[in-house]
């Protein structure tokens, strides 16, 4: 159960970008699990938990409309993409890129954002994501492709803005 809690919290924290809100959502999800315990199928529990968590996140996001602002004052270019080299400049660039990436992730709509978090961050399989989101397998793959494309476009826009 602790492992399920960890996965749900991590998912909601990435979705909402706010640990406090993620804690509230996670708590509500597990209280709902307790209330539905008699009808719960053990094998499908994690899917159920993430589905309920996602719905709760969507409700929370609608209420709050949280966006992470991309800072305009920082320089960024494709030349400073994270590489295998070490060194303070490269480290700072890598850190900046991660910030930009998180902000770009936040611009994605649903279900693209959920799919990216489940697939790329939490490394669920396509079949598992399909079950969690109640979407056909190919639809999940298509959404993921579109999400990745949108992220590339968003980050390219940011870089063009910086160079302009």
């Amino acid at each position: 159960m602790a492992e399920y809690q960890q996965r749900v919290f991590s998912f909601t924290a990435h979705m909402l970008g706010d640990k406090a809100a993620a804690a509230d959502v996670t708590q509500d999800v597990f209280i709902k699990l307790w209330e539905h315990r008699e009808r719960m199928d053990q094998d499908r529990m994690i899917g159920w938990l993430l589905r309920v968590a996602r719905n709760a996140c969507i409700d929370a996001m609608r209420k709050r409309k949280v966006r992470r602002a991309i800072s305009d004052s920082e320089d960024f270019s494709l030349d400073s993409l994270p590489s295998t080299g070490n060194g303070p400049d490269k480290e700072a660039a890598a850190s900046l890129f991660r910030e930009r990436l998180a902000a770009a992730l936040d611009t994605l709509g649903e279900p693209h954002k959920s799919i990216v978090i489940l697939r790329e961050v939490q490394e669920y399989k396509y079949e598992e994501i399909s079950e969690i989101l109640s979407l056909p397998l190919n639809t999940v793959k298509v959404y993921l492709h579109r999400a990745r494309k949108a992220l590339r476009q968003e980050l390219t826009e940011v870089m063009r803005h910086d160079y302009a």
Partner: protein, 163 residues
Amino acid sequence: MEAFVDGSLSAEDADHFDEIALMDEEIKRQLDLAQAISAGLNEMDDIECPEFISKHVMAHVRNDVKQSFFERFRLFFGALSVSRFKPVLAMALLIIVVVSSTRIVQNTSAPTAEVTQALDEVKWTLAFLSDVGNTTANAVKESVIENQMVLPVSRSMSTIMEN
């Protein structure tokens, strides 16, 4: 490109794509970005779940269990007021009284052999302790009084007498 980044292309197709990317600047740029995005997302930390969440959930569960217990308790004893259960209650009380009385009667009857022997053992132990205390007190008295008081006084007296 995504299949290349995912590593799901065959070795031959991957090499082919790699050659194309080397020749086309734009494709190379997009490929680098796609790889950076994939790596960046993979590196996003699993955010650790705070402990208080499970504590809050368990508090809610315990409260819920308590409520349902009180509810069942109330229903159970409410149901007992129905006349059908009165004979059962009466029988239960009778059994408790009989068992308690039996235990009291057992306690006031003559001591068993085990108890008698245990009493002898306890008496011996107390006698032993008393004897040890007595012997030890005498030994201490002899040692302390004799060595530290009587002997020095008698030596002093002898010295005085000699002089």
